[in-house]
């Protein structure tokens, strides 16, 4: 619990790190109606594609320098030496980021979906999709961020972006399934299954990668 609280405090103090991605997400969502003709049907057509891409970009921004500060001031090195369960620390760090950034973005997704489509049922079903996909994207970009720890976050984002594309395909299908009321639970379960594999494997992989950086 202490590690959770410590990571929470660390992120809370770095206001720019957690508010920044949320604000970018909100700005994209607000800017969207300005770029299409103001007809409700036109807005609805491309809304969900934009929503998933915005979540993807926000998560990419959130993990920009997730380890960089700790790497530069030697905290990472000290943590690896002093804590035996380094992968669990990584998992907790990712969870805190999701709690502080992913969940608010998912809530805003629900609100924007409700505002644009004016359909409570669809918006309620979109919410769990947003929660799960934000956690998946966060894990993937943390992996990329660890790979390109001291080489800038762009490289990490580029090389891990292809891994996020299948999730985007499933999300696209998910929205169609929700709109037509068919098989959306299967797709939600598919995402949940993928998430469970990712959250158990990524912390271990990331910890090995960080150790390779520090060797």
């Amino acid at each position: 619990m202490n590690v959770f609280y410590l990571e929470y405090l660390k992120l809370k103090k770095k206001t720019r790190h957690w508010i920044g991605p949320i604000i970018v997400f909100i700005l994209i969502m607000i800017a969207y109606p300005l770029t299409v003709e103001f007809l409700e049907k036109d807005l609805e057509k491309g809304f969900y594609s934009l929503l998933w891409i915005s979540i993807l970009l926000s998560m990419m921004l959130a993990t920009e320098d997730i380890f960089l500060e700790d790497y530069n001031d030697g905290t990472l090195e000290q943590t690896i030496i002093s804590i035996s369960s380094f992968p669990f620390l990584i998992a907790k760090k990712i969870f805190i980021y999701w709690f502080m950034i992913g969940i608010p973005i998912s809530l805003f997704s629900f609100l924007f979906s409700l505002g644009i489509t004016k359909n409570l049922n669809i918006s309620l079903l979109v919410f769990p999709f947003a929660m799960i996909c934000s956690y998946i994207f966060l894990n993937l970009f943390v992996f990329g961020s660890a790979l390109s720890l001291n080489k800038g976050s762009v490289l990490g984002a580029i090389i891990t972006m292809p891994l996020a594309l299948p999730v985007l395909i499933v999300l696209g299908k998910g929205v169609i399934a929700i709109q037509f009321g068919i098989n959306y639970l299967e797709l939600l379960l598919l995402l949940l299954g993928s998430l469970s594999i990712i959250i158990t494997s990524v912390p271990f992989i990331v910890s090995y990668i960080i150790k390779a950086h520090l060797e």
Partner: protein
């Protein structure tokens, strides 16, 4: 030795290509356009096989620290990218007369495009580090994680409804392709496979020379 394998493979490939393109009958649905399979199928097959070989090499490198595995991964990545590009390009050319479009965002084509981007990402990741040993380790991890895309490509035609047809040749079932088209296809796969293997050997030699250039045995060898 590999030079002979290369020329022999090249001979088999050209022979199969000529046999398939000039001497097999037209397909009753696709007409002559099907003949691109003698490039498309070997390239698609090898684009995934090379990645699988890279993943095996990565595991070997991370567990047993065999340097040759790291050199092999580096040697295979650009060749894999080239072969994947060939698969995508030939697929697009085939798509125009068959589907009426050169590109479709369906599962098989998109996942193959992801594979191509993965290859480019692997190359750029390694090039961005000056410490070779660190770069090898990071590259190996990325290859292993990226391997998740291979079963997705393989099963994409079964899991999603796509324009792409399902596999005509499998290990378990009888081929659904006519023998007159099948034999030159098998020949072209074998020939293409041999050519790619030789290219990987040459590329690996280049990697070994580049990385071991300060060692005395290299100076003696050269």
């Amino acid at each position: 030795m590999y030079k002979y394998i290369f020329y022999f493979s090249l001979f088999i490939y050209i022979f199969s290509l000529v046999w398939g393109v000039l001497f097999t009958q037209e397909d009753f649905v696709q007409g002559n356009s099907f003949r691109i399979i003698y490039l498309h199928v070997p390239a698609s097959f090898l684009s995934q096989s090379i990645y699988a070989a890279m993943a095996i090499s990565s595991v070997i490198y991370l567990i047993w620290r065999v340097k040759l595995s790291a050199y092999l991964i580096l040697a295979m990545a650009p060749i894999g990218a080239l072969v994947t590009f060939l698969a995508l390009f030939s697929g697009s050319v085939w798509g125009i007369p068959t589907w009426g479009t050169w590109w479709q965002w369906d599962a098989r084509i998109t996942s193959t495009l992801i594979l191509f981007i993965m290859y480019l990402g692997l190359i750029s990741l390694h090039n961005s580090f000056s410490n070779h040993e660190k770069a090898d380790k990071l590259l190996s991890w990325l290859v292993i994680v990226g391997f998740v895309n291979i079963p997705i490509i393989k099963k994409s035609v079964d899991w999603w409804s796509t324009l792409h047809q399902s596999a005509s040749i499998t290990l378990t079932d009888k081929p659904t392709i006519d023998p007159s088209m099948l034999y030159p296809l098998i020949g072209s796969i074998i020939g293409f496979f041999g050519i790619v293997i030789c290219l990987i050997i040459i590329s690996s030699k280049v990697q070994i020379f580049k990385r071991e250039k300060t060692k005395s045995w290299i100076k003696d060898y050269v």
